[in-house]
């Protein structure tokens, strides 16, 4: 019944339609099964329900290999679930196919990775502009938007190749790329794992501040429990399987 209700709420939006910012994420009855023939193993991700409110910041924890990254990729529409629905910004992302899903992801979801995944050989500015290139934001705004965001993040060497920037600066460029299109949801996959504790804390603060400023909900996968106090909620992936999402309030 609940599933039906969620599916009815989800609209299959054509490319270019605006994202409903009041519904950043609703996951219902999700199952993903993966058979690794090479390793003769079989594993998966199960989520009964998971919901993020507008601007909410949630820490997703779980042991290594539990499927945190896989859940993020499922939410981003990069993997297809075996069952269930994932509604991002009011739209079931898996009801969209091909180009429409890619466009929707580009417009509504920002992703931050542990290894930053910046476009090598491109400048800091171009890395941010690349995200705008696939969005529906008018081209005339791209340059101003990207420059102003990088300036806010303290990046001055716009035209330097990203490989010439420090690790901290690369991290900031990656964050800028994730939020430049004003996404409804930011998915961060171990974003601070490659940084020392001091820089990790600063980077996480930056991500959270920026998401807050842009009004984007944040789902951050991390095995670092020390970060938990910074978030509205902490969820353990294993608790999500087959039971309602645990909602343990962490900050006021």
């Amino acid at each position: 019944m609940g599933t039906t209700l969620y599916l009815q709420q989800a609209r299959c939006v054509p490319e270019g339609e605006s994202v409903d910012r009041t519904v950043p994420l609703q996951v219902r009855d999700l199952a993903f099964r993966y058979v690794d023939k090479a390793r003769a193993s079989n594993w998966g991700v199960n989520v009964a329900t998971l919901q993020l409110a507008q601007g909410e910041q949630v820490l997703l924890t779980g042991r290594s290999g539990s499927g945190k990254s896989t859940l993020l990729y499922l939410i981003a529409g990069l993997l297809d679930p075996t069952r269930g629905s994932i509604i991002v910004g009011g739209t079931d992302i898996h009801s969209l196919h091909g180009r429409a899903r890619d466009a929707y992801r580009g417009r509504g979801i920002g992703m931050i990775f542990q290894t930053f995944n910046l476009l090598s050989g491109f400048t800091a500015l171009e890395n941010v502009l690349a995200a705008l290139m696939f969005s529906s934001i008018p081209g005339s705004e791209h340059d101003t938007r990207a420059r102003s965001l990088l300036e806010q993040l303290g990046i001055k060497r716009f035209d330097d190749d990203v490989s010439e920037l420090s690790v901290g600066q690369q991290q900031r460029v990656a964050v800028a790329r994730a939020v430049v299109c004003d996404p409804v949801l930011v998915l961060a996959d171990e974003p601070t794992a490659s940084l020392d504790p001091e820089n990790a804390s600063a980077a996480m603060k930056l991500i959270q501040d920026l998401c807050e400023k842009k009004g984007a909900a944040l789902l951050c996968a991390s095995h670092d429990h020390s970060m938990a106090q910074r978030f509205d909620r902490k969820i353990d992936l294993e608790d999500l399987a087959g039971q309602p999402s645990s909602t343990e309030p962490l900050r006021a």
């Binding site: 993966y34 290594s64 499927g67 945190k68 990254s69 990069l78 180009r99």
Partner: protein
């Protein structure tokens, strides 16, 4: 603002050496193809112009082809000379528009000298469509005067009023600067060269011709009886060293030697073909069995046939090089795919669709093809200029290949199309790139 071309440009820059080398291969193929096509066209034009309005050539060469090559294209000296008086009268009985005697064998600084009568400039034409025209000065009217072809004048720096001594045979010895009066015994190295110079009298340049686009441009045209006089004088001085002067009045039948007769049969006005040509041809062959009667148009056609066969092989080679250029694009892009999967996965994450990734790779291949084709066109223009210079210097052929716009467009489009085709396999690989696997291990 970033566009797809920014992505393509960056990708090309990231693999600069490979991109440049593959584009260069395409450029070579395009240049080869276009040069062959322009050369073929230019050769056709040069050969067509070559014999002008001359319909038959009478000479003592061993074959009609040798006769045409020597007399029309100045590729060598005619084999033998023969007495003009033995033929001049009998030729008058045939229905001819003209029968102009020519003598070859002398040169000036490597430029061939064609000694002929003033009728040459009046009745013969360098091009069926055009008469001889002067750039400067006048045609020769009397003895010891010479008119220069445009290229010969330009290369030699001679102008009307200058005087030159002709050299016997084809030699690039500079007879203008060498002083015929120099003490030969003091200059043993000069001695042999000076002995080749016709020192009896200098020729005065009276005019410079306008360019004709034929081999005549690199020739010099001397008055025929003067040529007879200098040769007769030298022959007589061997017997009588005290002889100081020889004039036209002293010439005998033995002296009036020529190497060819340029003939045009009576042709109705406005027509390029003469109804009496076959009859005159047969008559000449029957009457003068010791001489060769050449049909320049036919020989030029044969010559062009040989050239065409050779350049067909080059054309096939050029097409093969173009295909291998496209294959090299395929290999270069295919090999780069492993390094690019991560980049492709990132682009997909930020919203780039699979068809757009496919299009980016195909466009990148096409851009390599396009840059290569453009470089090829530029290379072709340079090669054409070089070919013109080499053909002129080595063969004396005035071949001016010009870039043909329509073939250039077709070859460029073909290069772009083949390159895009070569990009299809890498593009399919890019299209099918797994995002998750190439970002980081699923965990």
């Amino acid at each position: 603002m970033m566009t797809d071309f920014t992505l393509i440009r960056r990708s090309l820059r990231a693999r600069l050496l490979s991109s440049v080398l593959t584009a260069f291969l395409v450029a070579l193929a395009v240049a080869l193809l276009l040069s062959m096509l322009s050369l073929r066209e230019a050769s056709r034009r040069a050969f067509d112009r070559g014999s002008g309005n001359v319909q038959l050539i009478l000479s003592a060469d061993s074959s009609p082809m040798a006769s045409v090559l020597n007399t029309v294209f100045y590729t060598g000296s005619p084999a033998r000379s023969f007495k003009w008086d033995a033929y001049s009268e009998s030729l008058k009985k045939l229905p001819l528009e003209f029968a102009i005697p020519v003598q070859q064998g002398d040169s000036y600084r490597g430029f061939p000298i064609l000694s002929t009568t003033p009728e040459f400039f009046v009745q013969s034409r360098p091009d069926p469509e055009r008469e001889w025209q002067l750039e400067r000065g006048a045609f020769f009217k009397k003895e010891f005067e010479v008119v220069l072809g445009s290229a010969a004048a330009q290369a030699s720096g001679l102008k009307p009023g200058d005087q030159i001594f002709l050299t016997h045979g084809q030699s690039d010895f500079n007879s203008r600067e060498a002083d015929p009066a120099a003490d030969e015994s003091k200059y043993p190295t000069l001695k042999q060269a000076l002995a080749q110079i016709h020192k009896y009298a200098p020729f005065t340049v009276t005019g410079v011709l306008k360019p004709t686009g034929t081999s005549h441009d690199r020739a010099m045209f001397a008055e025929l009886s003067s040529s007879w006089i200098i040769h007769a004088h030298e022959k007589r001085r061997l017997k009588n060293p005290a002889l100081t002067a020889t004039t036209a009045a002293d010439l005998t039948n033995e002296d009036r030697l020529i190497t060819g007769v340029l003939i045009r049969c009576k042709t109705p006005p406005g027509s390029s073909e003469s109804p009496v040509l076959p009859r005159v041809y047969d008559e000449l062959r029957r009457s003068y069995p010791a001489l060769t009667v050449a049909f320049p148009a036919q020989e030029v056609e044969r010559l062009f046939g040989i050239v065409t066969q050779v350049d067909s092989i080059f054309l096939a080679l050029a097409v093969a090089v173009l295909v291998s250029g496209a294959l090299s694009i395929l290999i270069a892009l295919y090999n780069s795919m492993d390094q690019r999967r991560r980049q492709i996965a990132i682009l997909r994450v930020i919203g780039c669709s699979q068809p757009r990734i496919f299009g980016l790779i195909v466009t990148e291949a096409a851009v390599i093809g396009f840059i290569g084709a453009l470089a090829g066109v530029i290379l072709c223009v340079a090669a054409n200029k070089l070919t013109a210079v080499l053909m002129f210097r080595q063969l004396g052929l005035v071949v001016e290949p010009t870039l043909l716009l329509q073939p250039a467009l077709i070859v460029t489009l073909a290069a772009v199309f083949l390159s895009a085709l070569a990009g299809l396999i890498p593009a399919v690989m890019a299209y099918r790139t797994s995002i998750v696997r190439n970002l980081q291990p699923v965990g």
